[in-house]
């Protein structure tokens, strides 16, 4: 069965939204993870300054993903949210906590420690469950009659836990790249000192995960598909090269390089997953064609999509342009 053009359109919209979300919210979640690694108050507030105008808008993309999935691929929406009942719950709690922590930590002195913990733990939990969900997807999600056919704790398994840790490190690396890009002075140096270690951590953890996925029986299918699509191995190679370049950027102190190259690394990882999963939306049971809503639905929401999504894109770019350059205390 071939997917309709509208189904392809919406699959592309969702794929692109996920990539945008991962990179944008990835760096501010990463800053949140790093936030927990320092007690220095100046470091902490400089970290928050670097993401203050952006973090909330970045989360917009998550809701766009959810809304578009429900509208265009209701089966996928139902299966994923059923399969990841607990991770989604933790994701929402993490997002709520870090959100209020961010806004309210400055308004209290007595409870600031509580909000600071909320911010870093919330960020870490969000990153972890997203990574774990990817790992669980690589293992495959059982589906029967259009519904998730496992139980709520299927994702608790060594492999998803490994990928969860991998994404925490990956986001932390992305966040570190963002901090050196946006900040100056002691925080920049503090962060530069940690980037090589983070890059090494990402390489080891995700490298092990990739090797396991290719050899051990976590993804019976990924083993089956990857050899058929040998050209797909170019993406992991690009990913490794990008990580090396990150370290090169640290040595030459070129502030834009670590973030840019970590972004390349994330794109390469994303495309690797694409090679493993294609044409499945729910690996390895529901394809794009079988999951799509009828064209009457896809066409109806199409106009909403073509008007709103470019608008949000322009808005996002506008905010980043207004707040370009090194972050300042209270830039206007």
């Amino acid at each position: 069965m071939q997917p309709s053009n509208l189904a392809i359109f919406w699959a592309c919209v969702i794929a692109l939204s996920i990539l945008i979300y991962v990179i944008l919210d990835g760096f501010d979640l990463g800053v949140g993870i790093l936030f927990g690694l320092t007690r220095d108050r100046d470091h902490r507030s400089a970290m928050l300054d670097s993401i203050a105008p952006f973090w909330d808008g970045n989360e917009t993309w998550l809701v766009i993903i959810g809304a578009s999935l429900f509208a265009a691929f209701p089966v996928v929406y139902a299966v994923f949210l059923g399969a990841f009942y607990i991770p989604v719950l933790l994701l929402l709690f993490g997002l709520i906590f870090r959100g209020i922590a961010f806004e309210f930590r400055g308004r209290t002195v007595r409870f600031q420690w509580l909000w600071d913990w909320g911010f870093s733990i919330g960020s870490t939990v969000v990153a972890f469950v997203q990574g774990a969900a990817i790992g669980a997807m690589m293992r495959g999600i059982p589906v029967a009659n259009g519904q998730f056919a496992g139980n709520a704790f299927d994702w608790v398994h060594p492999f998803p836990i490994l990928t969860g840790i991998g994404l925490v490190l990956g986001y932390a690396l992305l966040g570190a790249g963002w901090i050196v890009f946006k900040s100056e002075g002691p925080l920049r140096e503090w962060t530069y000192a940690r980037i090589p270690w983070l890059a090494l951590g990402v390489f080891v953890v995700l490298g092990v995960a990739f090797a396991v996925a290719m050899t051990v029986d976590v993804g019976a299918i990924s083993q089956g598909i990857m050899p058929e699509r040998r050209w797909g191995l170019v993406f992991p190679v690009i990913g490794v090269a990008a990580l090396l370049w990150v370290i090169g950027g640290v040595r030459t102190r070129r502030d834009g390089v670590p973030f840019a190259m970590t972004t390349v690394f994330f794109m390469a990882s994303y495309l690797t997953l694409g090679v493993i999963f294609w044409p499945f939306m729910v690996p390895y049971s529901v394809t794009i064609a079988s999951a799509a809503a009828p064209d009457a639905s896809l066409g109806f929401i199409f106009w909403g999509g073509v008007i709103v999504l470019p608008m949000i894109l322009v808005y996002t770019l506008g905010v980043y342009r207004v707040f370009k350059g090194k972050a300042q205390r209270g830039y206007r």
Binding site: A67, V88, F104, V109, A296, V308
Partner: protein, 469 residues
């Protein structure tokens, strides 16, 4: 009633949506209120309206922010707990709710930013235009929610193919007769809720003897608005009753706690419905009035719950009391607003402390009416999630266990307790302080970060290091 995943999921949905709905409802009303203030200021040039505006816009931002955060949770509820519903009706509900999210984002990405941050960067006329657009946007957002819910109440414009419910006629879905009654009913409810809050805030300051000029604006406008709008709302409430009688007779019987078919039917004013014995205890009822209310004459035959098989009957207790509390709040608003205008006409409004106390204490009346009204509509729709098409018990995600939902429900209660407590505390703090000084620009604030307006700029994250004692 055991603690199965269906029951627990219903409780969870009711919990998260109850905490969600109060914020958008408040925001819709505040958007219209701010637009009115800005319009009146443009017309009269009176600076007092600007001071009142600068005050309420902070509440608006905070309330908007709380609505966004609790709304993110809603975006996932359908899939996490109501997987079968999502899968079977997603082709209709997905695009409708998708449009709601898109509308909200479009708003956030455009005029909301002008309204929050652009006061000094655009002309007064354009600023007013932005206010109008934001207000329209909030109403439009509610439109999609009401389209979706009205479709669940009285499905129309669909067909069933291979067990899935798919759209056949979007026009019928988005402009149905039920929607044309329910959307205005909800909008007016939102306006009235805010109107009562505005009046109550004015009463509060008057009682405390502060912000007298601003308080007068709030009291006068709030009470006048409610007095004018509440009769219209009662009329739309009546129309809502008519659609229920026509399309959901079992819900109507449950609201009236009418167990047996009667001709002519009595109206049970108040009672304690006993579902087991299928009768009302301690009932106070008026003969023949039930026929008049339902059918407009003294002799009509009105169906009772006995005519429906037990598996098709909704619960009685919640619709019965929910409706009565909602209607009671409506009449309370009517009494307060009309009495208030009478006092104002006599020139005694600001000295009648008993009345000001009553108005102040009535601030939650609109919220209570909205919640109980929704409970009446939603519980009265049971045992169906999509009326006549899909039963609630068949709509839940099949993989869920009671333990899963108990865990998530406790989590939501805990997280919301903290979140709502803080949010409400900051709204309360702003309300208590009242209109003090001009609004200050919050550094690093963007339209997608409305919670940044929770206090003054000096304490906002990303602008100043708080002093440690």
């Amino acid at each position: 009633m055991e603690l199965d995943p269906v029951f627990l999921s219903r409780i969870q949905f009711g919990f998260v949506i109850s905490f969600h709905i109060i914020f958008p409802a408040f925001t819709i009303g505040l958007g219209a209120w701010l637009t009115t203030l800005e319009g009146v200021r443009l017309l009269t040039g009176n600076a007092i309206y600007r001071r009142v505006f600068d005050f309420w816009i902070k509440i608006f931002a905070l309330s908007f922010g709380m609505g966004v955060v609790t709304g993110i949770v809603m975006a996932f509820q359908f899939g996490t707990n109501w997987g079968v519903l999502s899968e079977k009706t997603g082709a209709i509900q997905g695009p409708l709710l998708g449009y709601e999210s898109f509308t909200a984002f479009m708003l956030e990405a455009s005029f909301f930013g002008v309204m929050l941050l652009g006061r000094n960067r655009v002309s007064p006329r354009f600023y007013f235009f932005a206010c109008c657009m934001v207000s329209l946007g909030t109403m439009f957002s509610s439109f999609w929610i009401l389209v979706n819910n009205s479709w669940m109440q009285v499905p129309t414009g669909h067909e069933i193919v291979n067990g899935k419910i798919i759209p056949a006629d979007w026009w019928a879905i988005t402009t149905g007769e039920v929607l044309r009654v329910r959307w205005p009913h909800m909008l007016l409810a939102a306006f009235l809720t805010t109107g009562m809050c505005v009046a109550a805030t004015g009463a509060w300051y008057t009682l405390r003897g502060i912000h007298r000029a601003e308080a007068r604006v709030m009291l006068n406008w709030g009470l006048a608005f409610v007095a004018l709008v509440i009769p219209i709302q009662l009329f739309f409430g009546h129309l809502t009753g008519e659609y229920v009688l026509k399309y959901q007779p079992a819900k109507f019987a449950a609201i009236e706690a009418r167990w047996k078919t009667e001709q002519p039917a009595a109206e049970t004013l108040i009672a304690i419905p006993d579902s087991k014995a299928e009768k009302n205890l301690f009932a106070i009822s008026v003969p023949k009035l039930g026929s008049l209310i339902a059918s407009g004459n003294w002799t009509a035959r009105e169906v009772g719950l006995e005519e429906f098989p037990p598996e098709d009957r909704p619960p009685v207790l919640i619709p019965f009391f929910g409706f009565r509390i909602m209607a009671g709040m409506g009449f309370l608003m009517l009494a307060i607003s009309w009495l208030g205008n009478l006092l104002r006409w006599r020139g005694k409004l600001e000295t009648a402390r008993w009345f000001l106390w009553g108005t102040f204490l009535a601030f939650p009346s609109g919220f209570i009416a909205i919640l109980t009204g929704w409970y009446t509509a939603e519980v009265g729709r049971q045992p169906w999630v999509v009326y006549g098409l899909l039963r609630t018990k068949d709509a839940v995600t099949p993989s869920l266990t009671s333990g899963d939902v108990l865990f998530s429900l406790s989590g939501y209660i805990l997280v919301y307790a903290v979140f709502i407590a803080f949010g409400t505390y900051y709204i309360y703090k702003l309300l208590r302080a009242g209109p003090v000084g001009p609004a200050t620009a919050i550094p690093n604030a963007t339209p997608s970060r409305p919670l940044a307006f929770a206090d003054d700029a000096a304490t906002a994250t990303g602008s100043q290091v708080p002093v440690k004692n």
